[in-house]
């Protein structure tokens, strides 16, 4: 049986998840040239916010009602933490050498993980998340789409479309582009760049919360460490696609997701490479892909050459 369509679908679902998280890295980097290493934890907080919202709902609430509320609850939690981090951790360091906010981001990442570990009820191990059970959608003989995957297939393009329209058409979006291209000159136009920076953090956090709900629905559980590796992968996707470019984040995510799915399915079938295939090696192949792409296109797939930015 040809399993390629199924592998492609799995890869796309994973890639869309990476892409949604990668938006947060790329937007913040595009505007303040900060790699927000705490963004993986913002994703994780989004998951816990959604779970908390779920526990507040009356028992027996249908998931179709619960999910939108969980997204809202998760987004509120993620946006609140991300904008507080911007205000109190990063803004005071604006103008400081770049290493200072980077180290702050790493510190914040560890702090947020430990806060959830210490204070969220029963979060010292994985906590269960409502699972999006029920029958998969069968598209063809050999292609099934899980419900959780269908969720992300619908939401990821919607989010991207909304963001694309917002950035290119709205007044705030135009101000965002101006701020990312030249912050001081944006101020001279009358743009409150502090507000734009907060907005970039908030949008990234909201997208991460959507991703976190998708992740929880798929796995049936979340944990305080889940942002670490996924955050790293999403950051990889952002770099792969060209950091600073919102479409690059999604493209990078999808390429990375497909590459992982393909490596899991097919590498062990290559003669002599049986030991290098399967799920255990997927991360290795993901980073091999990153290295190869960066060797050929250091600016990433959709990135602009640095010279053009001057």
């Amino acid at each position: 049986m040809n399993e390629l369509p199924q592998q492609l679908a799995n890869g796309l679902a994973l890639g869309a998840l990476y892409g949604l998280i990668a938006i947060g890295y790329t937007m913040v980097y595009g505007i303040v040239q900060l790699i927000n290493f705490a963004h993986g934890e913002i994703f994780m907080i989004g998951g816990f916010g959604a779970l908390t919202t779920y526990t507040w709902l009356p028992g027996g609430t249908s998931l179709l009602v619960a999910i939108p509320l969980m997204i809202i609850g998760g987004a509120i939690a993620a946006v609140a933490v991300a904008t507080a981090a911007e205000r109190f951790a990063y803004r005071p360091l604006r103008g400081a050498p770049r290493l200072a906010p980077l180290i702050t981001a790493i510190g914040l990442s560890i702090t947020l993980q430990q806060l959830i570990w210490a204070f969220y009820p029963d979060a010292k191990k994985a906590v269960s998340f409502p699972e999006f059970k029920g029958e998969s959608f069968q598209l063809t003989d050999n292609l099934y789409i899980q419900r959780a995957d269908a969720f992300i297939f619908v939401l990821a393009p919607l989010c991207m479309l909304a963001l694309g329209v917002f950035v290119s058409k709205s007044r705030s979006g135009r101000a965002m582009q101006a701020t990312s291209q030249d912050r001081d000159t944006a101020k001279l136009m009358g743009i409150n760049t502090d507000r734009i920076i907060v907005m970039a953090f908030a949008i990234g956090a909201a997208f991460a919360a959507v991703a976190a709900v998708a992740y929880g629905l798929d796995k049936g559980q979340i944990n305080f460490e889940m942002g670490f590796l996924l955050g790293l992968k999403a950051f990889t996707a952002a770099v792969l696609g060209g950091i600073g470019n919102i479409y690059g984040a999604m493209v990078g995510g999808v390429v990375l997701g497909l590459a992982e799915a393909m490596s899991i399915a097919y590498i062990e079938e290559i003669p002599g490479m049986q030991q290098l295939g399967g799920g255990a090696w997927a991360n290795v192949w993901a980073f091999v892909l990153l290295i190869v792409v960066l060797l050929v296109r250091p600016q990433g797939l959709l990135g602009e050459r640095v010279a053009d930015r001057a």
Binding site: R174, Q177, Q181, K187, M189, G190, E304
Partner: protein, 238 residues
């Protein structure tokens, strides 16, 4: 009559290094005032402080009767002070039209904005021809035109131009200087910073010569143009 812009004993420091060491000058409505001087004299620092990008370490700035101390840059534009920065700083990946629209970011009168964009195209026809092009693809002179056009889009009471002739070909420089004359004739108040002292002084009502953070000589444009020390130091005469 009080001046549109009043600068009193302005001091600006980068860390411990004082770049502007207590300067005073004023700009009356309708005037063209120029600051000339060599590199490092503090001219650009002065403009960046007036537009709020830098904080003064001392002194007072009064614009249109209001003190500017503590007002953030994005609110100073709203008061009517526009700044076309040194090095042009157009938004390279936005189109010419989008750059001009950003110059009118705080305005809400759509029809008026359209009219002023058209006015910018009349002033600089080349911008109109390339309106859909990314601004980063323009030549240096064209970018300078765009930067000036963009600054005018906020309908400023005072237009500050920092080194508009820098790095331009003689023909392009001529064009930019002619435009400044044209703007002056339309009644625009201009504070012009220039290294090209000859060009700046010949069209200015008032001029101030800056050296290492201080104003060392002031006078009308014509006076300075004929001043012997200015001729020696800035106009390349023996």
């Amino acid at each position: 009559m009080t001046a549109l812009l009043e600068v009193e004993d302005l001091k600006v420091a980068y860390g411990k290094i004082e770049a502007v060491k207590g300067i005073s000058f004023s700009v009356e409505a309708g005037q063209v005032v120029t600051l000339i001087g060599t590199n490092g004299a503090g001219k650009t620092t002065t403009l960046r402080t007036l537009s709020g990008l830098l904080k003064p370490s001392g002194g007072r700035i009064t614009f249109d009767g209001k003190p500017l101390s503590g007002v953030p840059a994005h609110k100073i534009v709203a008061l009517g002070l526009a700044h076309s920065p040194e090095g042009r700083h157009i938004f390279p990946r936005l189109t010419i039209t989008e750059n001009l629209q950003l110059g009118a970011f705080l305005r809400t009168d759509k029809a008026g904005i359209e009219k002023d964009i058209q006015r910018a195209y009349d002033l600089f026809p080349i911008l109109g021809e390339r309106r859909k092009q990314a601004a980063g693809t323009l030549s240096g002179g064209e970018q300078q035109m765009l930067a000036m056009g963009r600054a005018l889009m906020s309908q400023p009471k005072l237009l500050m131009l920092d080194e508009p002739s820098m790095g331009l070909s003689p023909i392009m420089m001529q064009k930019i200087m002619e435009t400044i004359v044209e703007l002056r004739e339309q009644g625009t108040t201009i504070l012009l910073v220039e290294q090209n002292a000859q060009a700046a002084l010949s069209l200015a009502d008032q001029g101030h010569v800056m050296e290492i953070g201080k104003i060392v000589l002031s006078g009308t444009g014509q006076d300075l143009l004929h001043d012997e020390s200015v001729r020696k130091a800035y106009l390349g005469e023996d």
